[in-house]
Assembly symmetry: C2
Homo-oligomer: 216 residues x 2
């Protein structure tokens, strides 16, 4: 949290705007703040926003970047790299991601809404998603290396499946709409991720076998 006030003195106007945007998004998930709302919250004129950001979309994008940076997302998600086995790695990444989602949801959601209409926002989303996909992919490849996956599994599709199952939207639906407590969500997603990847006789895994021509 900590919307600042700690480093008491003077905050960069740009940073003040970012903090204000962030805070408005946390206060009211339902409605995207207007530029005038943000300006008021930042104690600055509406036009000042345009001195620092070319458009509302860009401002929102920068806010998510600011948030990622504040929370040190790279580091948090990279921790799973140190896990010894593929299984441990998958578990660590799933856990890290699932615990991160609730923190960034408010702001991320705004970006998702914008992405429906603004290509720029969609690009930003895709970029963030491919970072996540990288984490899942690394885990899947580690599983394959450990011999935990049947040979012939399409690791790309398996990664994509994990991305879809553990998406923002799934989290949103289960915890916000259906009111699942966080730990219920976490446990179920962990089980789901394991079920989707591990176990030789696993029905899910079987659907992800390469469907190319059989090897000679």
């Amino acid at each position: 949290m900590a919307i600042d006030t700690m480093s008491s003195e003077k905050i960069d106007t740009r940073t003040r705007i970012l903090k204000a945007t962030w805070s408005l998004l946390e206060d009211n998930v339902a409605k995207l703040p207007r530029m005038s709302d943000i300006a008021k919250a930042a104690g600055v004129s509406r036009q000042a926003l345009y001195l620092h950001f070319p458009s509302r979309t860009e401002l929102l994008i920068e806010t998510t970047r600011y948030q990622d940076q504040t929370y040190n997302v790279d580091e948090r998600l990279a921790e799973s790299r140190s896990a010894p086995t593929g299984r441990a790695r998958l578990d660590a990444f799933v856990t890290a991601w699932c615990n991160y989602v609730p923190q960034i949801w408010n702001v991320g959601r705004a970006l998702l809404v914008l992405a429906e209409t603004e290509p720029e926002a969609a690009d930003a989303i895709n970029q963030r998603m491919s970072d996540i996909a990288e984490g899942f992919e690394a885990a899947v490849l580690a599983l394959a290396r450990d011999g935990d996956l049947p040979s012939g599994v399409d690791t790309k599709r398996m990664t994509e499946l994990l991305c879809a199952l553990l998406s923002f939207r799934t989290w949103e639906m289960l915890t916000q709409q259906y009111n699942w407590p966080h730990d219920q969500y976490l446990k179920t997603m962990q089980a789901l991720a394991r079920a989707a990847t591990l176990g030789g006789t696993n029905e899910i895994v079987e659907t992800l076998l390469d469907s190319g021509p059989p090897p000679p």
Copy 2:
């Protein structure tokens, strides 16, 4: 009901508007049509739209209703009711739903976009979703009746999990963003649904056991 369309000759203006809206949504998924676009496509003045629908949101909602009715959604999804066992029922419903999604996606997506800002649209979405949930719930209850679920499983949560996994958004991500072919999507979702419900030693199912106080 009966929107008539049978009399090939003159089509009701209202129906013409609905058809035009539908067709615009199919042509261009990316951008919501404006009222003037719809009017032009329907060969009618912009103001005529307001003679038949109070607002753009309401027009979109009516379009999804028109579509559901055209495709006979109730009947299609109800077919699974005749399945003898719970397993067959789950399978039938999952298949029916997964095959229906691609047909309604274009229009449904528009409603999802509106739902981010318009409460009316969100209500309409929720209503449709609860119809789907009913289908999943019936299958889950049938499974429980058949003794295919461990006792103590929280059927409500299991239903919600199925809804989330088989949501519109998951379909969208896998098939539109990652370009999964339909039958790949279908096969994987069937396996996923089974994995999430069946099998006594199933890890996923275990996360859905009632967490209330242990029985005496």
